[in-house]
Subunit: 261 residues, 2 copies
DNA sequence: TCCTTGCACATTGCATGCAATCGAGCATAC
DNA sequence: GTATGCTCGATTGCATGCAATGTGCAAGGA
């Protein structure tokens, strides 16, 4: 498994011009799935909250059928959990399971980074470098909301750089699943600066085609991300704590469950 | 990233006594999902075959609703593809996409192997070793059906050895998805013997706790598996060819598609 | 002869209704 | 005073019906 190869430099066939064009007629199920998953990922619907078909149907002005199908879809992606004859709740997980999710995420991203280091084309490498360098402004400004947005794009570019649609899909799916549990990670003191430094290592390795180095750097990066997020979730910081009280998300609720399967 | 560590030897907390007990009342949707996915994975339903709700509903003696939900579930796992207002078909994929699936599978298993080498307990290592050694009989007998069954168990044990439920789930899901495209791989001449030798390398690395070696060995193993399967699919061997003719699975059908997304 | 246009049929998408199951609260027994 | 059993309300699981969309074929025009 040699590292530091000569850069192959094959840019992707078609970076998807993103020409969606028409309003794109979508089904109700898709619409509902989108909105619900967004609310879950953004934290409007917190882990443990119960979702009942009739209520959602009325809220969105549709019948129970499409709501039901949307919930099934969310259950399949892991954002909610179904309990037979007992409805669905936004996914709650134990602390250990959360750690496993972060580890799986780290492994997936390490894998993507490894392949990206080997396969990214010249244009892609350049784009990644500039993207990273641009984020320094956000760090200096302490703009953690802006950095969060940048961060998503950064990791997405690495996924795409691996030139494997399956791994891309796996990484995206995993990212969606962990989203509800990693909100506000950048509010941990010093995390922003540290994140930038870790990204720098990943970028450096990818730029020179150091596959093993890229994998190791990304793995290390996500290990720290996981740590920070866990601290946020359990240390709980004030702003969240209030809302949690209103929606019953106590540590017990997180620790128990897991009986699903 | 050191290899060859001293073996930590922590056996899993509870190997699941497998006491399912009662007949376990399951929903119609689950039942249907199970049966359909099994038929797809076994090849009774070949890629490209159309599945219509009404037909399946009548066949299983239920209404369209549970059939529909089961199909949605299969679509979420990737075994079938849904086209809006146009029904579902058993998943067909392009050759390049198939290669990507095999690569993703290889990466997942390499990852699992790496962790397994670090984390398997003494009992697990011993179990894996004996399982592998037992398979020599199947190889000598040329019993490729038996070997196929053994092979599933072997890889499953490696997944479990990584002690991470998320990675375990990912690997299982990916295995299900590729199943329809890797049938009869062991019928490729010499593949059985080669597979055994490759397994031996994986086992050896895991036994001594050589993480990187285990990952590399498993990756190499699956690269060859992918090659063999692709050859079977495209070279097509006689037994399958007949059935394919009856169900329209020509190379064109495999090459096209992919517009899904 | 080939392409376009219109219509009829088949199939999916969604709405609604009914039965089965689960959980809570109360009554009763110990 | 606590535990056990029962009934009732709430919610899900499944069946069925109707409207919307897509497909295939046939007829007409270039």
């Amino acid at each position: 498994m040699g590292s530091t190869t000569t850069i192959p430099a094959i840019d992707p066939p078609a970076p998807a011009p993103s020409a969606d064009g028409p309003p794109a007629r979508v089904s109700l199920v898709e619409e509902l799935g989108q909105r619900l998953s967004q609310e879950i990922m953004e934290g409007a619907l917190l882990p443990g909250v119960r979702l009942e078909e009739a209520g959602l149907a009325e809220r969105f002005g549709v019948s129970r059928t499409p709501v039901r199908e949307a919930l099934n879809y969310l259950a399949a992606t892991g954002l909610v959990q179904k309990r037979p004859n007992r409805g669905v709740v936004v996914t709650t997980i134990s602390r250990s399971r959360l750690q496993q999710m972060f580890e799986a995420m780290a492994e997936l991203e390490a894998c993507a980074s490894r392949l990206a280091a080997l396969r990214m084309g010249a244009r892609e490498r350049d784009s990644l470098r500039r993207l990273h360098e641009g984020s320094v402004d956000l760090v200096e400004a302490g703009d953690y909301r802006g950095y969060d947005a940048f961060n998503r794009v950064f990791h997405e570019q690495v996924y795409e750089g691996c030139h494997n649609g399956e791994i891309l899909d796996l990484a995206r799916a995993m990212r969606r699943r962990v989203a509800p549990f990693r909100r506000a990670q950048f509010q941990v003191p010093g995390r922003l600066v540290a994140s930038f430094a870790e990204h720098a290592q990943v970028v450096a390795a990818i730029l020179v085609g150091d596959a093993d180095g890229a994998a190791a750097a990304m793995r290390a990066h996500l290990r720290l991300v996981g740590g920070a997020s866990a601290r946020v979730l359990h240390g709980i910081e004030p702003a969240e704590a209030e809302r949690l009280g209103a929606a019953r998300l106590d540590i017990e609720a997180l620790e128990s469950d897991s009986a699903a399967r």
